[in-house]
């Protein structure tokens, strides 16, 4: 690690003031940032520890939930109201990382972990536009089984590794942000960027902005929701494909539906096209298949990851079918 100063922020205002300094990073649980510091992929000169700021999980009068940015992944997953009203979120969090990491990792830190791939970490041996802008990308013609099939660019094909964020994208979560001038609220789906020609920039946050809370809007349909993750080993591995989904039926037709995908893109991927093709239609397999086809129509495989396109389609259909009760509906999809 290159040398840095360390300050623990006692308040959001203090954090923002300290965070305005040059080469300054906010520190949450450290489960991604400490690793990046050790590999010298991040070289800040100052760390502002915000892990002591709000970690409350508050049930809002309208039925939503407001999660303090420093709430741990475990605290969110085990919260009774989250489990009852947004089961996909508990399912997504418990599908990610290990218990030790979930005990350390904060909500905002999970959101702001770097979109990354193994070539990004290979400091000495590989070219990476995310690590060194303009250098080139060795993943595009390399071992890219785990890489993106949607929304990638000629400069970067990495995927965002978070499970939690896939559920947050499907739930329409709102990210509360504070900066020197005030506060703003941003949809999670607008926070992460696609790589385009600037894969070194993962989010739309401006330097020094701080995530203070994550709001889950009231969404009664989310009580019937789940998260399915497909990976190379059955625990403690990143997603090849994951699906977060909720469905609300009215008779046999789909009144509303939420779908987001993980493991496919530089950001958690809200499946807007699949959702649009399903709303108002009958909840049958043919329509689920058509929705999955619509969402993956623009998918572009690399050398090793064409399987992800079919896998994503099948996962979407399987999860929707389970939620709609076409097959015996297990509590785990």
């Amino acid at each position: 690690m290159t040398p840095f100063s360390y300050t623990r922020a006692g308040s959001v205002d203090e954090a923002i003031r300290l965070g305005a300094g040059p080469q300054t990073k906010y520190l949450g649980g450290g489960t991604n940032l400490v690793d990046l510091l050790r590999e010298t992929l991040e070289r800040p000169t100052a760390l502002v520890d915000v892990s002591g700021l709000s970690s409350t999980i508050e049930e809002l009068p309208d039925g939503g939930i407001l999660i303090g940015a420093s709430a741990t992944n475990t605290a969110i997953a085990e919260h009774r109201a989250v489990r009852a009203r947004y089961p996909m979120l508990t399912r997504a969090i418990t599908a990610g990382a290990s218990a030790q990491i979930r005990n350390m990792a904060t909500a905002a830190g999970n959101i702001l972990q770097r979109t990354r791939c193994t070539y990004f970490y290979d400091n000495a041996g590989s070219r990476c536009n995310k690590r060194s802008p303009g250098q080139g990308c060795d993943a595009i013609d390399g071992f890219n089984r785990n890489h993106a099939v949607l929304g990638a660019s000629s400069s970067c094909v990495a995927t965002h590794p978070s499970d939690m964020c896939v559920a947050l994208a499907a739930l329409g979560a709102l990210v509360h942000i504070q900066n020197e001038h005030g506060t703003r609220v941003l949809a999670l789906t607008d926070l992460h960027r696609l790589p385009e020609d600037h894969p070194d920039v993962d989010t739309t946050l401006t330097p020094g902005e701080l995530i203070t809370a994550i709001e889950l809007p009231a969404l009664p349909m989310a009580a019937r929701s789940t998260y399915r993750k497909i990976r190379d080993r059955s625990s403690y591995a990143f997603a090849l494909i994951s699906v977060a989904a909720a469905i609300e039926l009215e008779g046999e037709s789909i009144k509303d539906v939420r779908i987001a995908l993980g493991g496919v893109a530089h950001k958690p991927w809200r499946a807007w096209q699949a959702e649009a093709s399903l709303k108002g239609n009958v909840a049958i397999t043919e329509n689920f298949c058509a929705a999955a086809e619509a969402e993956l129509a623009e998918a572009r495989p690399l050398r090793d990851n064409a399987f992800k396109i079919d896998l994503a389609k099948r996962a979407i259909v399987a999860v929707l079918s389970a939620l709609a009760g076409e097959k015996s509906m297990g509590t785990r999809a």
């Binding site: 450290g30 508990t90 218990a99």
Partner: protein
């Protein structure tokens, strides 16, 4: 600010350099070599220690300065009055190790897991999220301990030791 941390009950001065991980602090500064450095990148669990009694964390990913004023328990802190923790004894009884390198992490992790079970924290293996109590089934145990790798493959003994210890503590 006192700039100290409690390690196995003793108040210790934290390092001045904020780059020092809890892992290196324990091993290199306090000579508590029970905690092990496996991957040093959050992938193996060998460095697992307990914070504030029963919260399991990875000490390799934790900067020591972040834990000011808090209590850290390493494998050296588990024996009481010269007697091993029952879980330590169970690992011996069931041959829950071969080389022993992952063992301190396995044991600390298992203690943290028990606390999570008592709180009713669900896991990926939990079928019903509304449940108040979770039985430590074979699937639950394996899932909840999946953050601790054993390259010798002593998993059968590890699982047996944890299952027996858990059953004795929860008759």
């Amino acid at each position: 600010m006192t700039h100290t941390v409690y390690v196995n009950g003793s108040e210790e001065q934290l390092p001045d350099d904020p780059r020092v991980s809890v892992l290196d602090f324990l091993r290199e500064h306090l000579q508590l070599a029970g905690v092990k450095k496996g991957c040093n990148q959050g992938a193996c669990g060998a460095c697992t220690v307990l914070v504030d009694g029963d919260q399991r964390i990875l000490s390799c990913m934790a900067l020591a300065v972040q834990y000011e004023g808090r209590a850290i328990t390493s494998i050296e802190g588990l024996a009481k009055n010269g007697s091993l923790d029952p879980l330590q004894q169970a690992f011996i009884d069931h041959d829950g190790f071969q080389c022993g390198y992952c063992t301190p992490g396995q044991i600390c992790s298992s203690i943290g897991m028990s606390a999570e079970l008592r709180r009713g924290v669900p896991s990926h293996a939990t079928d019903d999220l509304s449940t108040e109590t979770i039985d430590l089934s074979h699937d639950e145990l394996r899932e909840r301990m999946s953050g601790n790798l054993c390259r010798c493959g002593a998993y059968n003994g590890i699982v047996a030791a944890i299952a027996e210890s858990h059953a004795r503590a929860n008759p």
